[in-house]
């Protein structure tokens, strides 16, 4: 385990990973972890707009996972205390990347894929218009706001969002990963 951790650390360094978190998520954990990334970037002299864009995207991704991850303890929608997810923030080719990953139920995949594909086809102006339209709408009570969050992530990214759905052992769920580039 010790040797593996050292190799893991090396790998993280090589890939320029700032933070790598996998486990049960909570609001306070997010405040601390994402807050540290924000502070680090500021200390490294990064410009305010970039810091805030990375920060905003990380907050939205984690809050989406806190609300929507299909992996939780206890394994009961109504009584879940923690939901699980992954958050990785790092550097890639002179840009920042913020990635999240979580289990998602099969029936939810189609709608999510459609939403992300639609966002990927929009330019800055259409994303802004779409965001404003969605923001004015009466909330869909089931949605917990995820629609607007994804649009926000897309707006603050410099490229269309990359996403993937991968099979896992459990047939009823898949692993959804999202990558935002800033």
């Amino acid at each position: 385990m010790i040797k593996d951790l050292s190799q893991f650390r090396e790998k993280l360094k090589q890939e320029h990973i700032y933070i790598n978190f996998a486990g049960p998520l909570s609001q306070s954990l997010m405040e601390d972890v994402v807050g540290i990334v924000r502070r680090r970037m500021t200390l490294e002299g990064e410009n305010t707009a970039t810091v805030m864009n990375v920060f905003a995207i990380a907050v939205e991704q984690v809050q989406n996972m806190i609300h929507y991850s299909a992996e939780m303890i206890p394994d009961d929608e109504k009584n879940a205390e923690f939901r699980f997810g992954l958050l990785v923030v790092g550097r890639e080719d002179e840009r920042y990347v913020v990635c999240s990953g979580n289990l998602i139920r099969q029936p939810e995949i189609a709608a999510l894929r459609e939403r992300l594909t639609k966002l990927g086809d929009m330019n800055k102006d259409s994303l802004k218009q779409y965001y404003k339209e969605q923001r004015k709408k009466t909330p869909d009570l089931k949605a917990k706001g995820a629609g607007l969050g994804l649009i926000e992530i897309a707006r603050k990214s410099s490229r269309p969002l990359e996403f993937d759905f991968q099979p896992v052992d459990d047939d009823s769920r898949s692993f959804f990963s999202l990558k935002a580039i800033i």
Binding site: M52, I66, K132, P139, G145, E152
Partner: protein, 130 residues
């Protein structure tokens, strides 16, 4: 109406409502865990305020960062005030931002674009002398 005070936290703004002045101020960041729960007392204040068409109302916002859920609630709040303003209520909204914070300025500008009746002022923090 009663005064309201909510202390700031790392993820939620300080909120001050002065009932005598009919002035509501929010300062800080907004990305609370439960947006609806946090904003409920603030929405209540506005619901009471818009029932008084003759009382001028001032909303001052200095929001460094708002997540998408908060942004939606802020839009709802501005819509409520905008409707009241369309019916004759005097409403002033001051959006303060730090000159370094491009994002905060843009957020303010985008709210301004969707406002029709109330008076919306975009102000850098130095503008009012502070």
């Amino acid at each position: 109406m009663e005064n309201l005070y909510i202390a700031a936290t790392i993820s939620s703004p300080e909120v001050r409502f002065d009932a005598a002045q009919q002035s509501l101020e929010m300062t800080g960041e907004s990305y609370p865990e439960n947006t609806a729960e946090f904003y409920l007392p603030i929405i209540r204040v506005l619901q009471e305020a818009v029932r008084e068409p003759d009382l001028p109302f001032t909303l001052s916002l200095e929001i460094i960062y708002a997540n998408s859920s908060s942004s939606k609630v802020l839009m709802d709040m501005l819509d409520m005030l905008d409707e009241a303003a369309a019916e004759g209520k005097t409403v002033n909204v001051n959006w303060y931002y730090n000159a370094d914070n491009e994002n905060a300025k843009e957020v303010g500008e985008e709210f301004q674009e969707d406002i029709e009746s109330l008076s919306f002022h975009l102000l850098t923090k130095e503008s009012d002398g502070s």
